[in-house]
């Protein structure tokens, strides 16, 4: 099947066609970055997840966190569920690991703000 999507790498917004049956080959791109994006986005879409976790004793009740690399799109809700059980005590430092190898993605969840 040929899937259609808009390239988001630059504002030009080329319409890409990605052929799933032909090794996810890309047409419609105006530059190589678009080909890479289209290939990846259809074959194995990934995202960096940002959210918050509970924080006690800090300036605010929530502490912002993120995955330190992009994780498969399909795992986002599982990671959100795992974050519900996390509770931190102030002080925390930006970069501190909250959950290692979260949901077997190979990514760590880290604190993004010292609080």
């Amino acid at each position: 099947m040929v899937r259609e999507l808009v390239c988001i790498v630059c504002p030009k917004g080329c319409r890409l066609h990605v052929d799933e049956d032909n090794n996810y080959s890309v047409t419609g791109n105006s530059c190589p970055r678009g080909a890479e994006y289209g290939h990846h986005e259809i074959k194995n879409p990934t995202r960096v997840l940002t959210s918050t976790v509970r924080l006690d004793g800090g300036l605010y009740r929530r502490c912002p966190v993120k995955t330190d690399r992009a994780v498969p799109k399909g795992k986002l809700m599982d990671i959100m569920a795992a974050l519900n059980d996390v509770s931190l005590q102030s002080p925390v430092a930006a970069g501190q690991v909250v959950l290692a190898n979260v949901c077997d993605t190979g990514a760590n969840v880290i604190v993004t703000k010292s609080l």
Partner: protein
């Protein structure tokens, strides 16, 4: 007496203070009304900041953190929990705080970096009830990301600006159902990337050329909204109604620079930007008072805020050391399809290598040119493959070129190539 007082401790204020310090000012004070530095970035926990500046994707708090760390290595002083009430042309700054009461501080120079606030529902007037459950997207963002309150379970978002899009994803991740994002215009004001990753990823429909035509309350809380498609004159088309049962409406209908202090000081304003009129070095119409960041015009990328603010900080340092700009002034006019420019005025004699001109276009352009002309004759053109009102454009006008301009004004125009 301070060398420099910076009003506002967001990314603009932080960058201005750091650069003024680097340029040799010693007595610098940042005044911030919130409990911490960082401004609006503290609630923007998503990533995508700093690609230009740091060549990596940071979250809002991480981006602010980089500047707060830089500030720590300087002698810049910070007053938190302190509100600036008034500034005047004699460079006096009136402040109030619970800790120190009312004070009048004096400075050789001032940088205004108050940022912007969100347009509210009243500003655009939606018909219907006035129940609880209607929030601006930014307040909802603060509740959720900092204070730890969920704003609702079934949500309709009005406006497709970036903050609304970001909140659509954020609320979905936290378990809410976002039923629709409704946009008045035939195109979204947000970045393509946010449309894909915040709406399409989660199957949230975007209704372009639609608006909310009624909000219905039950027991004092939003219970239902009606949405209509609009005709070319932006009038609701009868019979096109979509009905949503929801408990929450988020408004993402634009930002307004926060300029009460600026206006009260008698600084010349630009009705197109709702910010101060500024020169090439971000100086306002009152000598020694500078402005930068969202208080001057709404930026979509914080990276540009930082760059512009560093210029303002450096210019404040030059002002304090007594370097006065010389030579004449050129006004920058908006030609066809350009809605504003910042700066609005240039003093060529004060431009280093080139002047950075920011502007927005009024409509979507493919394969187009930006033309700068004087007395109707083109001076220089810049090619663009794509331009849209939601994306700030900028051009660099070389000093060499400006030195050849005889006219008292130049015009920036956008057109098809």
């Amino acid at each position: 007496m301070y060398d420099l007082i910076v009003v506002g401790g967001g990314p603009a204020g932080l960058a201005a203070a750091c650069s003024a310090w680097e340029k040799g000012l010693k007595q610098i004070l940042i005044i911030e009304r919130d409990k911490e530095l960082g401004g609006i970035l503290n609630q923007c926990i998503h990533n995508g900041f700093g690609l230009h500046r740091f060549k990596e994707e940071l979250t809002g708090p991480e981006y602010a953190g980089r500047f707060i760390d830089m500030l720590r290595d300087t002698g810049v002083q910070v007053m938190l929990d302190t509100m600036v009430l008034e500034i005047n042309r004699d460079h006096q700054v009136h402040v109030i705080s619970a800790a120190n009461g009312y004070q009048v501080l004096e400075a050789r120079s001032i940088v205004l970096a108050m940022g912007c606030r969100e347009r509210t529902r009243g500003a655009i007037g939606i018909p219907g009830d006035r129940p609880a459950g209607v929030f601006t997207a930014g307040s909802a963002q603060r509740y959720l990301n900092m204070e730890g309150y969920m704003v609702g379970k079934r949500v309709v978002i009005l406006g497709s600006g970036d903050i609304g899009l970001i909140m659509a994803r954020r609320l979905t991740l936290e378990g809410a159902q976002v039923l629709a994002c409704v946009e008045l215009m035939p195109y979204s004001g947000g970045l393509m990337r946010n449309i894909v990753q915040c709406l399409e990823d989660w199957g949230i429909p975007l209704y372009l050329s639609h608006t909310i035509t009624d909000i219905v309350a039950k027991d004092g809380r939003v219970s239902h909204v009606t949405v209509h498609k609009l005709d070319d004159n932006r009038q609701p088309i009868p019979g096109t109604n979509l009905e949503f049962d929801c408990d929450t409406v988020l408004l993402s209908v634009g930002l307004i620079p926060e300029n009460e202090l600026t206006r009260a000081a008698g600084i010349e304003m630009d009705p197109r930007t709702n910010g101060a009129v500024v020169y090439e070095n971000m100086e306002t119409s009152i000598p020694g008072i500078f402005a930068c960041g969202n208080v001057v015009h709404v930026h979509d990328l914080v990276d540009y805020v930082s760059a512009e603010s560093e210029r303002a900080g450096a210019a404040a340092a030059a002002y304090v050391s007594g370097t006065a700009p010389e030579g004449g002034t050129i006004d920058i006019r908006n030609g066809a399809d350009v809605s504003y420019t910042v700066p609005q005025r240039l003093r060529p004699g004060n431009v280093p290598k080139a002047a950075d001109i920011f502007f927005r276009v009024r409509r979507v352009f493919k394969d187009s040119v930006i033309e700068v002309s004087a007395d109707g004759a083109p001076l220089v053109t810049y090619k663009r493959e794509h331009m849209a009102p939601g994306e700030m454009e900028h051009i660099l006008l070389p000093r060499k070129l400006l030195d050849t301009v005889d006219a008292s004004e130049i015009t920036v125009t956008a057109k098809e190539a």
